[in-house]
Amino acid sequence: MQTHILEGGFADHPQEASRSFRAVMTAMARPGTIHAVAGAQPPAPLSPAAGTVLLTLCDPETPVFLAAGLDQPQVRDWITFHTGAPFGAAQDAMFAVGAWDQLPLAEFPQGTAEYPDRSATLIVELPTLSNSGATLQGPGIKDRTQVSLPETRAFQDNARLFPLGLDFIFTSGDCLAAVPRTTRVS
């Protein structure tokens, strides 16, 4: 492994992981709200926000699917050193990270009737993230809110699977927002 791969992790793991976990949790609880996170400096093209989420949520027991654009040695090695997470195919993934058009949505686990939680969480890298675009409604949202989703149809289909389905974290630069399976998108 090259040395720079070993850098860019959390300097103070418990503190930084707790802070970013709080940000991810709040983002999931309040869909569409945008949160800044810090701590990870991953190798390009992985964004700092996506890197921080990976360091916070992944470990040796969470297989990660890397979309084509991110499937590069420096990204793989960085994730391996800092999280220990193994890489796997989409159908085995607990987490996936990559650009929207490089994530095979239909292939990820959607959970089972007994264990709806055994589904994948997708970390979607977006060029920009702002409170404009698609309208979100549902639990955790007062009336309605807007967030710049890449499309609406896929999220409508996903919400219909409830209690099964995927959960989404959108990352751009050092910001993130989330759309869980309970959110209605229009």
């Binding site: 492994m1 070993l6 470990d59 040796p60 027991e61 391996t80 050193f81 220990g84």
Partner: protein
Amino acid sequence: MYVAVKGGERAIDNAHAWLAEERRGDRSVAELGVAQIREQLALAVNRVMAEGSLYDPDLAALAIKQARGDLIEAIFLIRAYRTTLPRFGGSIPIETEDMTCDRRVSATFKDAPGGQVLGPTFDYTHRLLDFKLAAEGDVGPAPVGDTATVPTPHIMSFLDREGLIQSEPASDETPADLTRAPLELPAGRALRLQSLTRADEGFILGMAYSTQRGYARNHAFVAELRIGAVAVEMDIPELGFAIEIGEITVTECETVNQFTGSRTEPAQFTRGYGLVFGMTERKAISMALVDRALRWKELGEDDLGAPAQDEEFVLYHSDNIQATGFLEHIKLPHYVDFQSELELIRKLRREAHANIAQEAAE
């Protein structure tokens, strides 16, 4: 139905303070150090590590001190601590063949290669109280012998070579982990062994004893019992190879059990397996017997209806932390539950009295 009630905080705080004082005991007696517990109550420490499912003698000793010697409470503390640790990964399966044996005995072969090594055993003591210990008698070093290194191959391998014993299929599969996913039945052997190795020693001992007394007969010989240190190796991704990350003491018991064979298969011995953290031989032997009893289905035996053959009964009742949690919760307030029972019984009695009165009147 659960109803939240407030109150009692001061009583709880004071109870904790008194607990701390009672834990310390008489202040004119020297306080017990964690290192003293680790060194001098090592078998209690071993039990806490085995059933707490975490190998760390210092932590287990601390837990025993904190729990005032209540080992199940200490195991509870270790289990709780364990959940706070990030998991770095899983080890390469340990090679007990390479164990540096403190003890190694076989009940089946007198002249086992490597010899019969008794180790620091209670077996041949007379179980007479030693009042010298009460007088704090110091002991000298144990005698030493000739340490010409002789390999100690597993005794089972000799039977295996002759085809006399059922073989154990190897597998590269990552074993299921009951600390990560709920235990579902039927459980594979890997889950059963994990469950048994962290199970309550008393429960497993009782289950094993029941098989000896005839509930699921599987007459067992201890082919080999070995206790000693083995290295733990793990693959380190950033290095690209495996290194030793430590050394642990384990107890391993392999049993040879009777098996009659079938019309299509020649008669073969079957085997049971016990492997437990620390020097824990009663537990390891018990584990091997219960493991063997639970294998009836895969060995094509009859279900004799014995408790030790019943996977659900054994696996769902063997964990002392689960059991104690559910058992002890019934002493906590159930005021509302009980009120409804009270009302019901009063109503039934009123109705019965009314019926008696009515019959008497008629």
